[in-house]
């Protein structure tokens, strides 16, 4: 599976996503600069964590206008796999590719902490390798990661089995413990925890591998 890692000028987890994909998962990977209007021949894209364009306004509010996001939208529409992590999730939500919003953590403080989560839906391209019900350990590192949506949207997400991950330890106040959500077509997923930071024992956990392994499995099926 060839993975494209989108690089906004303020991305700072781009190298980490690249390293996890190429070194720890042995997949071909390449960086895609924010002003390119094509994603080339990649099978999946990752929107990494960071501060896209500084994010002094709402996180991801400017990124949604970038040229590369037009390409990402087309790619998603054509069924391509799009994973947004942290700032990537915020950008996907701002771009309207995923429902809801990410507001400031309830504590109003940035939190960097390893948390326990569980895969909600397990029949998705991002969670199919997750053992049902198993607790996964992955870190969060964000100031605006509290998932928020109206009741109807939340009900709909649950009814359509689109909650990809739920916190066991809900540190940011997310509604219904939601840590990650899927698009209706299930090929776009955003999550606040960092799977790329949990891809080898030296990082403290390898549980993030399931996200990438699921994607590899899904891509192989196509």
């Amino acid at each position: 599976m060839k993975i494209g890692v989108i690089v906004f000028p303020g991305s700072n987890c781009d190298h980490d996503a690249f390293y996890a994909a190429s070194h720890n998962l042995g997949q071909p990977a390449e960086f895609i600069w924010h002003d390119s209007d094509s994603l080339g021949d990649v099978d999946a894209v990752i929107l990494p964590g960071g501060f896209s364009y500084g994010d002094y306004l709402r996180c991801g509010a400017i990124a949604k206008f970038s040229p590369v996001m037009r390409a990402v939208r087309r790619f998603a529409k054509d069924g391509g796999l799009v994973l947004g992590v942290c700032n990537g999730f915020q950008i996907l939500v701002e771009s309207g590719l995923l429902p809801g919003a990410l507001i400031r953590n309830r504590s109003l403080k940035f939190i960097c902490r390893e948390l326990r989560l569980r895969a909600g839906a397990t029949d998705s391209p991002f969670t199919n390798a997750a053992p049902p019900g198993a607790e996964l350990r992955m870190p969060i590192a964000h100031g605006e990661g509290c998932y928020f949506a109206d009741e109807r949207t939340l009900d709909e997400l649950e009814a359509e089995d689109r909650v990809a991950f739920r916190y066991v330890d809900n540190a940011n106040g997310s509604l219904r413990d939601i840590a990650g959500v899927l698009s209706r077509e299930r090929n776009v997923m955003g999550m606040m925890p960092h799977p790329e930071r949990a891809t080898e024992p030296l990082m403290g956990s390898s549980d993030g591998l399931v996200v990438f392994q699921s994607m590899i499995r899904a891509a192989a099926r196509v």
Partner: protein, 739 residues
Amino acid sequence: MTTEAMTPELIAQHQLTPDEYAKIVAILGREPSYTELGIFSVMWSEHCSYKSSRLHLKKLPTRGKAVVQGPGENAGIVDIGGGYVAAFKIESHNHPSFIEPFQGAATGVGGILRDIFTMGARPIAVMDSLRFGRVDEGANAPRNRRIVSGVVSGIAHYGNCFGVPTVGGECIFEPCYDGNPLVNVFALGVCRKEEIFYAKAAGVGNPVIYVGSRTGRDGIHGASMASAEFTEESKQKRPNVQVGDPFMEKLLLEACLEAMRTGAIVGIQDMGAAGLTCSTCEMGSRGEVGIEIELDRVPQRATGMTPYEIMLSESQERMLLVADKGREEEVFRVFRKWGLEAVEIGVVTGDGKLRVKHHGAVVAEIPNRELADEAPLYDRPHTQPPRSAPNPASLPAGDVQAALPKLLASTDLCSKRWIWEQYDYQVRTNTVAGPERTDAAIVRIKETGVSLAMALDGNQRYSYLDPREGAKLAVAECCRNLATVGALPIAATNCLNFGNPERPEIMAQLVEAIEGIAEACQFFETPITGGNVSLYNETLGEGIYPTPVLGIVGMMKTAEPVGIAFRNAGRSVMLLGGIGGCNETDFGGTQYVKAMLGGLWGVPPALDMDRERRVHDAIREILAAGLAESAHDLSDGGLAVALAECSFGPAGIGAQIDLDSDLRPEFLCFHEAPSRILLSTARPQRVAEIAARLRLEAPVLGVTIEKGIEIRQCSMTLGAWEISSLKSSYSQALETYVR
């Protein structure tokens, strides 16, 4: 050049003495212009010129096997093998952090990060050493809480956005920092050895290029502000504090590293303290060339700025570089890609002078070398450091059972989780050990299989009681922290925070601390490769305790480290280095005396450096042989506090120990003698053999157990505790104080 009347008042306002002014006139052969006066005043400020400390800083050891670049550049550089080097340094941003905590601390982080990447190294770790006034009680607690909150948010804001992990540090509270908090930031970066860049101009005719943020009126006289005591008027200096833009810094980082790879850059320096003035004259001086700039070309964010203001502005996120003539476009192309404004503002000349033009007219013309390197040098009188009170008439009997919970919930000893969770300590996925998991932070170098361990240490109470011994103890503790994770220390940086050096007793503290650092760094083979001196840390005549902070870097193989926490029950608990001795006099600086008795007296505990080094050698050997399951050095709070911390791990394993000693119970449990490491092992015999070979005691104190902590003395119970209750007060204390 227009001349303004140089009145004694104007000269004094620029914090220049009549003698210093006479020297300026001698250098120039005429009266300076107003702009020139401003330029001299910042370059010859204490902050930029180290005029009070330079004479003594020469005593520090600066050479060693691993040292590639010692003091004098933007950061020190050491060889870390595999073709890679590490650039690192510590800097203070104390004065701005008091005036405007958030931006003061944020720009402190920004400044040190630029010092690292201006050398070609990508920053991969930050640590900070913080000192505040009391937040738990006292009239100033509300203000101090605000300062703590602001400083921590400022560091988080800048480091998190920039994308560098903040992997460790220390934070201590004393009333002496009430009006004068200390914010010392350490940063470390890596690059390939052949990729190092220096802040040196060369090549007559080469273009001088300005890149980054526009120049505004912010931060004018920041360096001079940092070189004076605080008074009631200091609040009015808020405009002197700069505003940080970490996103701009991130762009500068990426663009500069990419531009460096074109091979078209000759030299580069960030614009930090004293801004454009400092970067031009220092680059010129190092390269023994002149630099001529035209201020009309400097990107400006305010209209009508005078040459004086442009030269002295400390607007953040700006770099100055010299490129190869004819290859400018290669450099500009990279900056354009990153959306940065880069402008050719001048040229390298052969006359050794800094020549500043404004609308085509020369407004300043000063020889670079005299300006940058021949600042006044003072051998300030130093008498004896002030010593503390004598021992109290009688010491009340201690209650170990009650004291341990109280100590663990005290501001200095409690968990600093509330602080470090606000920092992204993992970004770049190199953090092998972040805060509070081990005694030193560990960051791996993915390319080489080597990891760097790093620690910051300082003990202002000991330094107050005896600046020389306090400084030596800080070096020893830092090296011990590194040894406890299995690393070999290779080099050091220091941040010297002191009061007004014009007072002979304060100057004496500075001299003794430097000599102590010199002696210990020589002994432990950790040369000082750079650092920072922050003087005039006084508010309304009240000086801080002398606070030398050491940052030491060590090397180790990349592997899962042994942590502080006990992992299995039924293991032997051993104290490498032995229980040690203590008396009333050297108990006076301990955390026990501070938290339980509110006192400070006596002298620091004695340090036997030779024995200390044998302890380091022993623990490294024990760890290399895989004999220890946990290891934690004894420092603030002594044995009982260390034992509790070892019991706070995820496994919830505690210990039962029985101490064979006739010391007073509170001495036994809480004294802070150095050279001791608490470890748990399944192979006590092998550990004992290694210790014995190195002529060290290593008594087995007891055993790890499933539940609880118990300390006995000669079979009599001094205290027994549930881990969960100790741990919850330890973990939650800070939040309750600062909220």
